[in-house]
């Protein structure tokens, strides 16, 4: 590199005493504009970034989004509160459970509903399983983007177990819609409890394996350490959240500092990075895998029998078995879905710590069965706002790593 720079400076400068040097072959030094994506594999087919390059260095990066924009917020304003739950699945389609959870929590805050304790434990367990799935997906694809293929296969192998578990829980692997306003759709069966306990014993040694694969990999370390560094102050100013923020050393986790669900009853720690680089963000996600196992284990020990849905018939859905056997319950379900419940006028914001960061819902209600305005605070979108800042001065190949480090899913980014 040093040799290259020396060569460039000597050739580029024209010595006035020797004007003939002007005719020497010079290196091209003008900036090059490169469109990366939307067809690039790492951009998921729905993101374009206009890269301004000087040599191989990134001077400016301008993300161009909107390829997947479906107007989800407008859809929310046209449907009832219950009708919107399946739409939230399609935001971050890799981790649908978290979106359901965040949305249901927001509506519960609006309606001032207290969820029964057993449902809170079930919700926490499933949310943490979803966090594990999300981090496995991230780790696998990030490693693949950098060229480490084995980790990808290992992560996806273990992720399959949990997706099958989801299948048994709610009949779907991806678009789950299991959370309900006021509780959950159905309880775990004994077989699900048994499978989960088995997984919790199986999984921690597997995390050790992922770590060994990557920590011994010099390419992985070189491609992540000191790459895309962002200071704590900048990370806050950009509104980054989740592991992306905590990598910069900011101890901010809503599960801990605005506790909800069963989190206050569990002991777990919040991993925080030091350098704010890609490696620290990777390290935090790996540590969170261990913490999630810890949380699920505690929940399984503490969970007691009880109802799984709040007893607010004007808002919450009746149990499915009653809907199919009892006419009144069927009418109640039909009315709740088609006309909605009567929400009080007001506005709330409710943030939930998803695996990507703070997934928040801002709801304005003017009364009636539909939200007047629903705004989604999508971490992927907000993280993309810091892309230019974080990529400046790094190599063009690092652009892929920097997308990856946010764990973006464009469905959530574009909405």
């Amino acid at each position: 590199m040093a040799q290259f720079e020396d060569q460039r400076t000597t050739v580029y400068k024209v010595d006035p005493e020797h004007p003939e040097s002007e005719s020497l072959p010079t290196l091209r030094t003008e900036e090059l504009l490169l469109n990366m994506g939307p067809q690039h594999p790492s951009t998921h087919g729905v993101l374009k970034v206009i890269l301004e390059l000087e040599g191989e260095r990134l001077v400016k990066s301008t993300p161009v989004m909107g390829f997947l924009h479906r107007g989800v917020e407008k859809l929310a304003e046209e449907g009832t509160y219950h009708q919107f739950i399946p739409h939230t699945d399609r935001l971050d389609y890799v981790c649908a459970m978290y979106n359901n959870f965040a949305y249901c929590r927001a509506v519960e805050k609006l309606m001032n509903i207290t969820v029964p304790e057993r449902a809170e434990y079930l919700r926490t367990i499933v949310a943490e399983i979803q966090r594990i799935i999300g981090h496995q997906f991230w780790l696998g694809t990030q490693a693949l983007d950098i060229g480490a293929m084995t980790v990808f296969f290992y992560c996806f192998r273990d992720r399959e177990i949990l997706l099958d578990w989801f299948d048994e829980l709610c009949g779907a692997r991806l678009t789950t819609s299991w959370y309900r306003i006021g509780g959950v759709e159905r309880d775990f069966t004994p077989s699900l409890f048994a499978k989960l306990k088995q997984f919790l014993d199986y999984f921690p040694p597997k995390i050790d394996e992922y770590v060994i694969f990557l920590e011994k990999n010099r390419i992985w370390l070189a491609r992540t350490k000191g790459v895309a560094v962002i200071s704590a102050e900048d990370a806050l100013s950009f509104g980054l959240s989740g592991p992306t923020l905590r990598g910069s050393g900011v101890d901010y986790d809503l599960r801990k500092y605005e506790p909800y669900s069963a989190y206050p009853k569990c002991e777990f720690s919040v991993p925080v990075g030091k350098n704010g680089d890609t490696y620290d963000r990777y390290w935090i996600r790996v540590q969170e895998l261990y913490e999630s196992v810890k949380i699920i284990r505690q929940c399984l020990e503490q969970i007691q029998d009880g109802p799984i849905m709040a007893d607010v018939p004007s808002v919450t859905l009746p149990p499915k078995e009653r809907v199919f056997t009892n006419l009144e319950s069927m009418i109640q379900q039909f009315k709740l879905f088609s006309q909605g419940f009567n929400a009080p006028p007001g506005e709330i914001y409710c943030g939930t710590e998803a695996h990507k960061g703070e997934l928040g819902f801002y709801i304005v209600s003017t009364g009636g069965g539909k939200p007047y305005r629903l705004k989604i605070r999508a971490p992927s979108f907000i993280h993309m706002g810091a892309f230019d800042h974080m990529s400046k001065g790094y190599m063009i190949a690092d652009a892929v790593t920097i997308f990856g480090t946010y764990d973006i899913v464009m469905g959530e980014c574009d909405r």
Partner: protein, 165 residues
Amino acid sequence: MNQLATRIEETFPGAFVKAAEWRGDVAVTVKREALHDVARFLRDDPSLLFDYIVHVSSVDWPDDEERFEVVYEVYSIRTRRRIRLKTRVPESDCIVDSLTDVWKGADFMEREVYDMMGIRFRNHPDLRRILMPDEYEEGYPLRKDFPLRGRGWRDTFDFLDEPAR
């Protein structure tokens, strides 16, 4: 009234419009001329230190004189408090000062508000559409008067008068 809201009212008596607290959320509405100053005060005052921008949103109230509402949700990492800062603008002059120099993250979030609601931000470094195509001229999708079922161009199709037999 909430302590935070009182603090803002005392510091900016002319700019304060109203404050509300509901379900634990504090929302303070200020006049748009003072939005930037209030935001800077929230960030820099040593007892407040709202250093973290959570999100920017907008609401359309078509029947009101000041039709649009811009909503900033900010958080203080040090004091672990939230506040919602709001301002209203009329349709005829829907422009507010950009807060990108106060919180850098406001850049993308304000662009989204502009794209979806048509509220412009003065001094924004790159105010362009972000989710809709650059050349999109149909209006602003999240406004309440934006048609839900397309612009009706299907009705202009020529149909055969008689079914072909």
